[in-house]
């Protein structure tokens, strides 16, 4: 099969048959979306997939003049720019086509499936430009966002530091006011930024770093906490053409995702890096959350896309590889391994994880498009930690199964599933680990808010279950409904006990909540798909499979939630 045909078929289903992205009442017609996806599928195969393995073998290297990435990455991204793919989602007054985020996300999924490491550059660049477009001044937008929308400059997000990974309150990068100019309040920044994807490369004309830093108080001390964090635009090359004081101190050598240069940056080895304040002092984390949320959905899409490609590859392999015979067969030639029960289960489980993850992310992308609707915005906030974590965890599990379907061959570097698995292992870590997403879900979204997002979610779940009752998916609908009653009870319990106890088993709760969410989405998709087509039959089988084999896991994950506080936290340290 053509390498991206499987994910393309699913994207068509999701956008058109399920989400209704085009057509009546939508801001775009089907022809436009199809043209975007045709173009993306073809160019992703030709320009991105073609160096997926090569850029894994030949990693970025740091030389005197900066970081050099694999030579195929530059031409691929310049063509990506020429095709208008950086700008597609921006409004026309910013030089874009104004396409919906859901359509752009589907396009991005094709590139991520082909080569997630190369796709990371435009993902970050687009999110960076969107942040500046939202919070920056007119001059900042024209100077720093527009060249990124054109794809000539790339962008980064500089949050973590060696001593401050998940804990941004502890950033030590210091920004000292220096005056102002046409680009706004100007500062000198000194500090170290770790894990900067695209922190340096030899592809784009310039790099726009968005940097979290603290402004010292009158005594010169950095105020504690995250509310004192501000956001600065720190370009690699200053508007006057000179080099800013940003140095690459080292490259991180990763298990996978190697085409993306990941750097330790030193700001201010000399006189201090020049940066311009975005918005107001102390508003940095709030503003950065827009980019973080976009990146979290982007990570989810990437993880889902890797899962989809592994699923397609293992499906192709299972249809061709001859091995063994059905149980009890006496004689006869070997059969294709897709005819063995265990392999079928591994394929169907992958389908549940991969297509489910993609559906979740596009559903969230659709919510982004509807963000002016208050319900959609509340639901998006609630689902974002799921859209980040569920594809990352279960997309990786899908890639694990893709290797297993290949047997020993899948463990060798001659088959692509090996690299997909290594690439995907990053996703539960960056942009907030799974544990951080769990704290976000339980602590921020469920316990601290007004419960509006959860109420919207429950309405939509109930509506799908009501549609399922009496259909041929009746059993699955009943199981989904029952699963959500269990989640309701757990949420009530978490609200009753409050923090810190509610956070004790947050990750286990996140998994249960994620699976319950996916069970609902599978039901919703299967109901929309009908069962007359091959795609529809697939959705129907996968929905029932998920309800029968995956949904029961939520009981196990919920078992310790709301009790069992002492099992981990009470354990004496020397007993580990």
């Amino acid at each position: 099969m053509p390498p991206l045909s499987h994910i393309r078929r699913d994207l068509d289903f999701l956008l058109h048959d399920w989400l209704g992205t085009a057509g009546e009442g939508a801001q775009v017609d089907r022809e436009t979306i199809d043209a975007l996806l045709d173009l993306s599928e073809q160019f992703a195969s030709e320009g991105f997939l073609s160096h997926h393995k090569a850029a894994d073998i030949e990693e970025p290297r740091l030389e005197e003049d900066g970081v050099h990435v694999h030579p195929a990455i530059g031409p691929a991204l310049r063509q990506y720019a020429d095709l208008g793919l950086f700008s597609a989602g921006f409004a026309p007054d910013l030089g874009g086509l104004g396409l919906p985020y859901s359509a752009c996300s589907a396009s991005f999924a094709l590139f991520a499936a082909a080569n997630v490491a190369t796709a990371a550059y435009p993902m970050l660049t687009v999110a960076n430009a969107r942040l500046i477009a939202t919070f920056g001044s007119r001059a900042q937008i024209d100077t720093f966002a527009r060249p990124q929308i054109d794809g000539r400059w790339f962008g980064t997000m500089c949050l973590s530091e060696p001593q401050a990974g998940s804990s941004l309150a502890d950033v030590r990068t210091r920004a000292v006011a220096e005056g102002s100019d046409s680009l706004g309040e100007r500062y000198r920044l000194v500090g170290n930024k770790m894990w900067i994807s695209g922190g340096d490369q030899d592809v784009s004309e310039n790099i726009v770093h968005l940097v979290l830093a603290k402004i010292p108080d009158l005594e010169g001390a950095l105020p504690p906490g995250s509310k004192s964090i501000s956001l600065f635009i720190v370009p690699k090359i200053l508007p006057d053409g000179s080099r800013n004081d940003v140095a690459v101190a080292g490259l991180n050598h990763k298990m996978g995702y190697r085409g993306t240069a990941n750097c330790l940056l030193n700001l201010g080895e000399k006189a201090g890096a020049t940066g311009w304040l975005v918005g107001e002092p102390g508003d940095g984390l709030r503003q950065m959350f827009q980019m973080m949320n976009e990146a979290r959905i982007g990570v989810g899409i990437g993880a889902a896309a890797l899962a989809m490609r592994g699923y397609g590859l293992s499906l192709d392999y299972a249809r061709e590889r001859l091995q063994g015979r059905p149980p009890g067969a006496t004689g006869g030639g070997p059969v294709r391994i897709i005819d063995h029960a265990d392999v079928r289960h591994m394929l169907l489980q992958q389908k549940c994880y991969a297509e489910g993850a993609l559906a979740l992310c596009l559903y969230c992308a659709k919510l982004v498009d509807a963000h002016e609707d208050e319900d959609a915005a509340e639901l998006l906030g609630l689902l974002t930690p799921i859209a980040k974590s569920w594809p990352s965890e279960f997309g990786l599990a899908a890639n694990d199964l893709a290797i297993q379907v290949h047997g020993g061959y899948g463990y060798t570097r001659d088959f692509d599933v090996e690299q997909l698995y290594r690439d995907n292992r990053l996703n539960p870590i960056h942009e907030g680990t799974t544990g951080i997403q769990a704290i976000d879900l339980v602590g921020r979204k469920l316990l601290r808010g007004n419960g509006a997002g959860y109420a919207v979610l429950r309405q939509r779940v109930a509506a799908a279950c009501a549609r399922g009752a009496g259909s041929d998916l009746e059993d699955a609908a009943a199981a989904v409904e029952e699963g959500w009653h269990r989640i309701d009870a757990a949420v009530d319990q978490l609200r009753t006990i409050g923090t810190p106890n509610a956070l004790e088993n947050a990750t286990s709760f996140l998994r249960a909540f994620g699976h319950a969410t996916l069970a609902w989405l599978w039901l919703d998709m299967a109901l929309a798909a009908g069962s007359s087509s091959a795609v529809g039959a697939g959705k129907s089988y996968a929905c029932r499979y998920f309800a029968a084999t995956e949904l029961p896991k939520i009981e196990a994950w919920l078992a310790p939630v709301g009790s069992a506080f002492e099992l981990a936290s009470g354990m004496p340290e020397e007993a580990f």
Copy 2:
């Protein structure tokens, strides 16, 4: 902490406090075992761990004169031989020390924790020699087993072929009788053998290949099925000093486990490789099962050892790394991450998986030592697929958690957990995939046998639960008992429906059976440990944690077992 101290502490507990390997009634005293483990811990750190990363970076390479492995591997294995570690488990009349298999397995675990790829060579060599010692003639033992027991020659197992991986019935290697000599019936072999670990290397003086092949019938055809497979000894260098007709056709480039050269071997590119029949024609698979079973437990030990090392590394890291604050804290410096709930859970879950897997394998090793007891032999047969698959699956999961505890650092090649995870990913594949183990458990061990192994297991489980009742592990004991009632019901159901339906969800059943087995072992260990020492408190916490958070998963895995046949097998192929 010293790199292997964590696994060493656990081995001491398992052998002495739990299994009672030494002392009254045992064939060895505690001082001997302690000396073996002291020696092993020290030399594993100095001679094996020291090149774990280097041999991952510098892979084996194939040159004109054969395969060259990393230069540190040869000296390490020669010292391993000099220390008597190849021979330790063999009877004195074969040049060994007659140490119990359980003690040798504990020693092996230390080497596997340090460097699983280098440890693979002696693991295969010892199992190869033991097979020849069991089934070979006196001359074959003297000629081919003794140099392996001395550690001068190494051994392989040549089962798979490119078209015959899991399906050994389809091997096409052809063995034509040529006469006989002092070494037995001599044959000429022609065929291709795939995935041969240690298939060639530049370390040992000679290599003893144990090769499965078929003897053609009078018409020259190879009989179908696995009952026509015979076993041959095919040395790399013949007794007269000339090279046998065995050529390395290629090396497999793996995700991990790279220090072990893995080869495609061509037998008979010229006149045919010379091999000597072991035992009777057609008895090959039965004989090879001895080596396969030993290798399966060896894989389990390796997977457990990798999990133990990852656990120790992430525990050390969690005790040092400062990040974040407890929920609700206002101000104060960052705390060690071991003080965060999510990290504690990830550590305790690793402890459950890693120490549980090690306990399972040593329990099985103890059964090997007691193999003349019929109950022990039956129980060993039943547990072997669990000892292979459970550590492989959950040891890998433990290494995944070890990376997650390290955050972004764990994803880089600067930290060892990254490699442990890649190394461990092989284990669910080789020596019979998890799916193959599931078929073995359900099809062969539970449905086809007389049920004796299961009866022994249930007696031992019931005894542990009875001891637990009324103790401070009462709740855990009750949960274990309840879990096993669910397994009983599932086994009855599988026996009722029979094959092929019983095999439909065999892998899911295997996971449930494995977790139930581990819950029993954790209970048994915790009861033996008491809770007065740090080790004992750890076992007690882990036992209760496993019962509270892991055991509930068996319900989910059992959900489709015995029903739900149509969900995967009934799905139209085009719907995938």
